[in-house]
């Protein structure tokens, strides 16, 4: 099937197209240069056309999610809809069911999302959920930052072993890249403890976060993985944590990049939660300037924000100790899930109310980071869904970024408390994003950061993943019309995935299976074999499943999109 999207106004940052009136053509699921006269014409005159959205960090599939859904029926109930001819019933607000997750991303014009924390032992679970989510491709990142094998080798500086282990494990669990969460801290939580800063050694293993981050970064570049290490640093959410954040980024500065497309060697996730100054919640101040300055001066870093959306949501992370602290703070029900030899996690409902000082402050810090980071290729829009808010709020965040007037109004009329500007620099920042910058932070930069070579741009040969929004950029003043911006980005006129029209006028009109993106390292077989011989005796003694039953069998990824990497060493 051939199509022409006619007369749209195209934003395709990767190809340096910023608001040009232009046709976009696709055939058999791919963008093409030319189509025949049989092509079907979709008239999108003066509407915004972008590559489909790419979300670099969210929690959408896996064991934590299901614990959240099981123990928060009151959240599930909030999003219940009746089935339609096309869609099954939806449920959930902050933790949507799998079908709802797919439909909702699709309605916003998104095509790809990263599942940011896959515990290897329960990877099959994550993959089952990915398979149950339609319409959006999913990139799972397995957790390595508290893995006992990694901790031991990091202590001994055995980078080759770590690299071989990562290469094997990505294949065994079908993962895309290396995720690190509170390195050493989550292991310390195995004993009810935590670590503070990157030089605080974890009990028994006696290794520090600095050593673990560096070792994994070196392994990542040794293999030349498409994505860099993806880090949730220590001390999340603690006043005074920004030096830990900067130190975590700085400690890999000397490690050379080895990968084709991306620029960075470290991706900092939900930077908002890691950019606080002060010493306690009494005297907390924004550290956004310091973190943004570091990012502005260092091209080896990219980040996503984790913007607070001022909703009641569900926090969930592999940062087990942080979640217990949060429970101590708000007294709401606490779930925890520790995974043998690998990782942990915690879950707590949280109400980010604009009537309370701390959420208002966090809201301000997130926006401040967006506005201070100069190069949009170094930043992505996220809410760390569902941690700082549900992903369905992306359109609202876009409206905030495009309108200084709206932000000022919120601070003036009390939608957020004074801490939003008194404790942050937000009040002094009047920058407004334009559509091209929005296109960058919601698709192009994420695609580049992940080294995707098939999506995130409207380049011939790429997947025909395209979003059309019902806005005429020459006609609308986003600064003055935030509600219209939010509505348009929340209800795509078209969402096209692999050349198929999935959404029309904000409604899902077609449901297709999603793809699972994972990385297959080639050329490291010898090292992998050696390392597996070392791993197996320990595996057999201390895991409670057999290795054969640990692996993710092929049928758990019925539609894989495999990135093959030639390890260069």
């Amino acid at each position: 099937m051939e199509y022409i999207l006619k007369n749209g106004i195209v934003y395709d940052p990767a190809n340096k197209i910023a608001g040009e009136k232009k046709d976009v053509m696709f055939k058999d699921g791919k963008i093409v240069e030319q189509v025949s006269s049989d092509a079907k014409i979709l008239d999108v005159t003066d509407k915004i056309v972008m590559p489909a959205g790419v979300d670099p960090h969210a929690h959408v599939a896996g064991p934590k999610l299901v614990v959240g859904r099981i123990y928060r029926p009151e959240d599930s109930r909030k999003g219940v809809t009746s089935k339609t001819d096309v869609c099954r019933s939806e449920s959930g607000f902050s933790i949507p069911s799998c079908p709802a997750t797919g439909y909702r991303y699709s309605r916003m014009g998104y095509g790809t999302v990263t599942e940011a924390a896959m515990p290897p032992l329960e990877a099959k679970h994550t993959h089952e959920e990915i398979t149950a989510i339609p319409n959006i491709d999913i990139t799972p990142l397995p957790l390595f930052g508290n893995n006992w094998f990694v901790l031991q080798w990091a202590k001994e500086g055995k980078i080759d072993e770590i690299a071989a282990f990562v290469a094997s494990w990505l294949r065994i669990v079908k993962g895309y890249g290396i995720k690190i969460v509170n390195p050493c801290g989550t292991e310390a939580w195995g004993w009810g403890g935590n670590v503070h800063g990157i030089d605080d050694p974890v009990p028994f293993f006696d290794v520090t976060a600095r050593e673990v981050i560096r070792a994994l970064a070196q392994a990542n570049e040794m293999l030349g993985l498409p994505h860099s290490i993806h880090i949730h640093p220590n001390d999340l959410g603690h006043p005074g944590n920004y030096p830990t954040t900067v130190n975590s980024l700085d400690c890999v500065k000397d490690i050379a990049k080895n990968g084709s497309k991306r620029n960075q060697t470290i991706h900092l996730t939900h930077a908002q939660f890691h950019s606080y100054a002060g010493t306690s919640w009494r005297d907390v101040e924004s550290g956004a300037k310091e973190v943004a300055d570091y990012i502005n001066n260092n091209k080896h870093v990219t980040c996503d924000i984790g913007q607070v959306t001022l909703d009641e949501t569900t926090t969930m992370t592999a940062d087990g100790p942080m979640e217990f602290d949060l429970h101590e703070l708000n007294g709401l029900k606490w779930a925890n899930k520790d995974i043998e030899l690998e990782t942990g996690s915690g879950i707590v409902p949280f109400i980010y109310s604009g009537k309370a000082p701390v959420p208002s402050f966090q809201w301000g810090v997130g926006l401040e980071l967006f506005l201070r980071i100069k190069d949009p290729w170094q930043v992505c829009l996220t809410t760390d869904h569902p941690n700082a808010g549900p992903f369905i709020r992306y359109p609202r965040i876009i409206s905030w970024l495009m309108s200084n007037e709206r932000r000022q109004e919120m601070m003036d009329n009390g939608e957020v408390r004074v801490w939003s500007y008194k404790r942050t620099g937000l009040g002094t920042l009047d920058r407004e994003y334009d559509f091209n910058e929005i296109a960058t932070i919601t698709r192009a930069s994420a695609a580049k950061i992940y080294g995707y070579q098939d999506r995130g741009e409207l380049t011939p040969g790429y997947n025909a993943d395209i979003a059309v929004y019902d806005l005429n950029p020459n006609d609308i003043d986003p600064s003055k019309e935030p509600a219209a911006i939010e509505h348009a980005f929340g209800n795509a006129m078209y969402t096209i995935k692999d050349g198929q029209i999935l959404v029309k006028d904000g409604e899902v009109v077609k449901v297709v299976p999603s793809h699972t993106l994972w990385t297959d390292v080639k050329g490291f077989e010898e090292q992998e074999k050696t390392v597996m011989e070392e791993v197996m005796p320990t595996f057999t003694r201390f895991y409670t499943v057999k290795f054969e039953n640990y692996q993710v069998q092929d049928h758990f990824t019925p539609n894989p999109t495999v990135t093959e990497v030639k390890a260069s060493k």
Partner: protein
Amino acid sequence: MAYEPPVTDYDEIVENGTCAFCGCNCDDLDFLIKDGHVVGVRHACRLGASKVMEDMDQRLLVPMVRDENGELQEVDWDTALDKAAELIAGSVRPIFYGWSETSIETMKHGIHLGELVGAVLDNQATICHGPSLQAVQNVGYPVATLGEVKNRADMIVYTGSNPMNSHPRHMARYSTFPRGWFRQRGRFDRTVVTMDPKYSDTAKMSDIWIGFEQNGDYGFYNAIRAALRGKEIDQDFVSGIPKEDIMELAEAMKNVQFGALYFGLGLTHTLSKQRNIDMAIEMLTDLNKYTKWVLTPMRGHFNVNGFNIFMALEMGFPYGVDFARGYPRYMNGETNTIDLLTRKECDVFMVIAADPGAHYPGGAVKHLAEIPVIQVDIHWGPSTEIADVVLPGSFIGLECAGTSYRMDGVPIYMKKAIDKPETCRDDEWIIQELHERVKKIKAKEAAVASK
């Protein structure tokens, strides 16, 4: 147990097989196979082994439909499936119950069928750990995988549970006896506590037995929590336990390095039901202020947790999900099997790999005898006696592969070791067939209606 000589006469061994019995879901079994039959099992406990070995006993082999005279008659698959589909399509308040002893792959077809006709999908949690899940929904769910406990725990508490009988390898393979990374001496590095009104087999194996009185659980945990907060207990005895013992236990629990609490149905089925667990979970949360504690419900069937996980990921609710109104609804006391049966609302009951009679209250069983029942199972059982349609399935983890979730949520792909009897079908296929056939009936109805 009498001595049985080891089996030596077999053709092949299938290693790393899984036990489809209790919530431990042990995945280290060796099946010894001769002529396409299992002649021996290694590593399984007696419960698991007997399930595999006695497999052909009472086996349902042929589809059956009950005739006008009330006798089950053997029929072909088409006849049986059409009959079942017709019953389901015509029902107003259908329940599809069971699922805890079949695969996730089967459930996938089940939920589509349930959404299509507007059924209630429910599993054994409704009579077993339902109260635990309600408590989890009220106060939280701090869990850990079994290996965390094996590698770290120096105190293990079993409450309202007797794993020596119900989960025979729980202590041996996962919690108490095995040598762990930080517990190199295994059993010697751990203190085992059993809280149970009965002096059970597990209590006999334990270092400490707390025999609080029947129905005293809620008051007992409340007192421990008060003690943890430094309150001097007022009463000399709480729930039959001397106050000194309570203070001492609270202190001991505070001072371990890693504690694990496993609770069973004993705790969920007393007077204050879900609130016992509610209180136990909060007690454990309190303990985390001092040191590390985790808990896990001792789930009974190997995939009872799997159904809860599956329903939650598909529809946001763990069990008792009612699709009658065209959207999922979850309301304890309203959308659960027992309530719908005792209220005599259910008009067609499909039971998938479960035995509804055993744990149901009398009224519910009586109603079952009055309505059409469809059974999908591998063995002749009480539900066969009341079934109007019998659809013989296959043995998951032995004759047919499938995914399950262990009591701690670890997913396991249970592989196939032997072929099923020729006349049987896989559960997955049966439910898919039913879905297809009901879809056809519904499409026909819609076509008629639109004319």
